[in-house]
């Protein structure tokens, strides 16, 4: 397999991926420079239009370049014709053909190189496609916010970094996008910076992500010194010639994969670094849809899939990925059962679904993991935007206990939210079933029955908690006060259009069989068209029905039930409510160990008493020498002169005495 260098001088298409990338950056720059002028001239809506135009432009270009490069090559049944393109702006005579270097020191060279292959094609289409809809939605959602210029500039900057993350041709360039999206996530979570909880959540997200980033940095150092390259394509090629590492014989590949997986855990909110994502719901809801559901949080899955050939070499790393994914999936699903904030349900649901994707990767079905990433981007964005529409209708209320009966008041939101719920629950003909079905099928075919069992159990929970959210929000009687009820209104077209588009998407995207498309990119062995065991499909569909009917029973038929169940399983209920205690433990560690230790041991004792004690002791000597404390300028200068003079005398004496 080879990489096709797409030189600008030979093929004008080479410029298109760069334009896709730079268009949102241009939007950001314009908004930064002229945002203040827009505000002064009350042209603030212009900011939204600029942001939408740039991301729509990127989407159009992405569709154009992908169809031209891939489709025109004629894709065969096994993905023939899908290639790896390296769009280069370099001159034909460049030795490395890479054009500009970003870093070049001591043989360590990192070029500005992009990689466009089926995997990154799927990613950029998702990012710009779903991203465009969310930008449009934001026009309506943020129309009353006085700071929407700032909002849209961040959104544009995010799009740039996210596109860089998936188009970057080497790990360091990917890392620029990686930390860049983290930065934008920080800015957007803390968008309403006056709220303490919002700025806390932003800070937490950034710091927790940095833990992952440190793993990624160490991984890059390891990879560079082991393989002499950080180019993503080359790393995947090198993996072909490396030996398989069973658990007992872990080597370079295992170490590298685990370090990179630390990064993936941070960005994609997996145990033990998942704690930031639920808090990230402090940000505006479209941000939750774009960053914390459809795109950024899937970056970890992308990274693992991108280096699939390396991961496949390490049994230990694969086991880790699969089991962390499975554990996260089920843990987050249990927490989602007891959430009352509609966005928190969706947040834990996202954590859980990301776990599902890692589970798929960990059992070797990387393409299927990407498939779930793809379908999830649609139905979860739909659910988040739908929840945003609900919150908009409720004048900012997010507590589902104060909602109810909204289905007749906001019918479009209700209809689309129902489709989203059905999709994630795994109802036939909708996107979620197809990808989830394949994950579970792969677990069965690859004989990983414990993982299959966890996955199936999580599927039941997923169907249950999402249906619960649907029923609590849209069914029964309105539980808020009269004024709130009076205010409930359907959202404007700019918000409904994306909802409808995504809802239609939920019917379509499941039919696009991503594993076949990214097949070559993840170098997957040919196990895609395995036979379904007879019992399989009924069981998977039944799991969804059990969850939905369970929720129907408890939240429509027997509404006193949940409280009774909670009382009956009190310790378990409390465990879920306390989110399995992660936050408690981490906060205690941060405040009781890090902050308290740094203050009372390092600063007040080591620095102030031990080191300074020594210095001040000798300082007393100097004070008596120069009486420097009495009159600063005279005394101090005198002390200085004295010592300098002493030095000079010694020097001259020495030179004279010198043999």
């Amino acid at each position: 397999m080879s990489q096709i260098l797409l030189r600008l001088s030979e093929n004008p298409l080479a410029i298109v991926p760069w334009l896709i990338l730079l268009l949102p950056l241009a939007g950001f720059t314009v908004l930064c420079l002229f945002g203040d002028a827009m505000k002064r001239d009350k042209e603030e809506n212009g900011a939204g239009y600029i942001a939408c135009a740039t991301i729509l432009g990127s989407f159009a270009l992405a569709v154009f370049v992908v169809t031209r490069l891939f489709a025109s090559a004629g894709v065969g049944p096994h993905g023939e014709g899908l290639r790896f393109f390296q769009p280069s702006l370099g001159r034909p005579d460049d030795a490395l053909s890479t054009g500009l270097l970003w870093i070049d020191a001591g043989g360590f060279q990192i070029p500005f190189s992009l990689l466009l292959d089926p995997l990154s094609a799927v990613m950029i289409l998702t990012i710009t496609g779903v991203g465009s809809l969310i930008h449009i939605y934001s026009l309506g959602y943020m129309s009353h916010d006085p700071e929407r210029v700032r909002y849209f500039s961040y959104l544009n900057l995010f799009s740039f970094f996210m596109l860089l993350l998936v188009l970057g041709g080497n790990l360091p360039l990917l890392f620029v996008g990686w930390e860049g999206v983290g930065l934008c996530s920080y800015l957007l979570i803390g968008f309403w910076f006056k709220k303490k909880s919002a700025s806390d959540a932003g800070k937490k997200a950034f710091i927790v992500n940095r833990i992952g980033d440190a793993g990624l940095i160490l991984g890059m150092a390891l990879a560079w010194h082991a393989f002499g390259t950080l180019d993503l394509f080359e790393l995947a090629e090198i993996a072909k010639n490396l030996p398989y590492e069973p658990v007992g014989q872990a080597g370079i590949a295992t170490a590298l994969c685990l370090l990179l997986f630390v990064g993936a855990c941070g960005k994609s909110a997996q145990i033990p670094l998942h704690v930031w994502l639920p808090d990230a719901m402090e940000g505006p809801t479209p941000v939750s849809a774009l960053i914390h559901a459809a795109t950024m949080v899937t970056a970890g899955v992308y990274l693992v899939a991108r280096l699939a050939p390396l991961y496949r070499l390490s049994e230990g790393a694969m086991l880790t990925v699969a089991w962390i994914g499975a554990a996260t999936a089920v843990m987050a699903a249990t927490v989602a059962l007891v959430q009352t904030d509609i966005k928190k349900v969706l947040a834990y649901s996202t954590v859980s679904q990301l776990g599902y994707m890692f589970l798929a990767c960990g059992i070797g079905a990387f393409g299927v993991g990407v498939f779930h990433l793809f379908t999830h981007a649609f139905f979860k964005a739909l659910l988040f935007l739908g929840s945003g529409s609900v919150i908009h209708a409720m004048s900012g209320e997010q507590d589902m206990r104060k909602m109810g009966g909204l289905r007749s008041k906001i019918p479009w939101t209700f209809a689309t939210f129902t489709i989203g719920t059905a999709a994630i629950a795994g109802v036939p003909f909708l996107a979620g079933l197809y990808s989830k079905d394949e994950i579970l099928l792969n677990a069965v075919v690859r004989e990983r029955l414990p993982l299959f069992a966890i996955g199936l159990f999580t599927a039941v929970l997923t169907a249950f908690y999402m249906s619960r959210a649907l029923f609590m929000t849209f069914f029964g009687h309105f539980r808020g006060d009269h004024e709130a009820e009076h205010h409930v209104h359907e959202s404007p077209w700019s918000m409904l259009f994306p909802l409808v588009a995504l809802a239609i998407g939920c019917f379509v995207v499941g039919q696009i069989h991503i594993p076949e498309i990214v097949h070559f990119a993840v170098r997957s062995p040919d196990e895609l068209h395995s036979q379904h065991p007879v019992w399989f499909t009924p069981v998977v569909i039944a799991s969804a029905l059990v969850g939905i009917l369970g929720a129907f029973y408890f939240y429509i038929v027997y509404t006193a039930g949940p409280a009774k169940v909670a009382a009956a399983f009190k310790p378990l209920h409390r465990l879920f409510e306390e989110k399995w205690g992660f936050d408690l433990a981490y906060n205690a560690f941060a405040s009781k160990v890090v902050v308290a230790g740094s203050t009372s041991v390092l600063w007040k004792v080591v620095d102030a008493r031990m080191i300074d004690g020594l210095v001040n002791g000798s300082g007393a000597l100097a004070a008596s020498l120069g009486q420097s404390t009495r009159s600063l300028q005279r005394g101090f200068a005198r002390a200085y002169a004295l010592v300098t003079l002493g030095g000079a005398v010694a020097l001259i004496g020495y030179l004279l005495w010198r043999p």
Binding site: G106, A221, F636
Partner: protein, 508 residues
Amino acid sequence: MTSNLLTLLVLAPVVGAIVVALVPRGNESAQKITALAVTSAIFLMSLLLVRDFQPTAAMQFVENHPWIPAYGISWKLGIDGLSLWLVILTTLLTPLCLLGSWDSIHERVKEFNVFMLLLEAGMLGVFCALDLFLFYIFWEAMLIPMYFLIGIWGHERRIYAAVKFFLYTMAGSVLMLVAFLVLYREAGVGSFEIAQLLTAPVSPSLQMWLFGAFALAFAIKVPMWPFHTWLPDAHVEAPTAGSVILAGVLLKMGGYGFLRLAIPLFPVAAVKFAPWIGLLAVIGIVYGALVSLVQPDMKKLVAYSSVSHLGFCMLGISALTTTGVVGSVYQMLNHGISTGALFFMVGMLYDRRHTRAIAEFGGIKNVMPWFAALFLVVCLSSIAVPGFNGFVGEFLILIGSWPANRTYVAIASLGVILAAAYILWMVQRVLYGEVTNPKNEALKDLSPRELAVLLPLVALSLWMGVASPSFTRTIEPSVAALLEQVRRGNGGSVLAETPAPAVTVARQ
């Protein structure tokens, strides 16, 4: 013109100082304008160095005039890749400091400008001197104006801070002086010229002692843990200009001293000591970050963060690999820019509120949006977010130190995490939330003058973040030559050099 450009650069501030001294005492704006004009002209002049610098290891713009021939002392100046950008950093920061202090220095304006100019002369001298004796003269001369900047224009505890600074530095200087003399005597080349001393290496056992003395002097300057406690006090008490110069330039002299003198002169000892220097460096990285986290005073927080950042620089130097050392030199520049800008911005808040306590602020973004935006950008550059200069430096250091000691690199990566914690916590407490303190309600946003100080630094930190090769390519040859010197001094390959990329993959 360029044949004596360095002498011109070093002496121009002295001439400027004399001119400022001649301006009548009452005419403060004339003093300020003169000083600013002189330092700006010096900056423009120093750009000639960048224009004519060749990316080779050779000393360039060399001037050599006998001074005290009897003892082999000469006025020998020259720069290479190690010093070029430090010179530019100095000439850039000095006018910015003057501009930044325009309205904050009210008493003894004339003396302030004179001292700033003399300080610049001393700093440039240190970076250009190629004669050990001359180096020492400049080293000492530069400290005097710094003492006075802290001692006269400093804050409440300025005397304590100045004395502490004095004691620490003097301890180092005395050691260095003794080591100079022993080296001069033992090398027996009858010259203080560094190039000559390099040709006559001293015995390995003596190298240990001399390297130790040099290392201590420079470690204090860096400052490396546990010799750092003068820094927080000096920073907190110094006026803004003093802090900027201190962090931006003076701290770099420690690392520069290692690279220019201690390592090449005593290569055997350098290789022996390197792991220990690396150890102190990683302790400093984590320790500085942890203590920074809990500081209630903004300047102290930034000061301790410098201990952490400079730990990175020393880690890269101790690795003795090209990538690591180039990264260190680059990171020194980055730190000068981002921490310099941070001190400027803390100073701007101080000018408005006369306090540096984090608890006094909160919600500043509501009243000073431009300040808030730039403050965040500068903070991000400081904590090495990719796209900014700091990332390239730290990344090169971590990559370059990996072959020397992976454990150190792993520990240093904790510093990356903690940096986000201490900076973002400060950002949150200063910028975000509602304005709770009524004294902050009417704060004015950045003035055009303040923007003029900050924008060059912000632009530079972005430019250095995306176009690093245009800087590192001039640094690398000198670093490679230095490491070659170390290798020769040790009689072969003792260094953990980065392997050349060995893998090539077919491209169609």
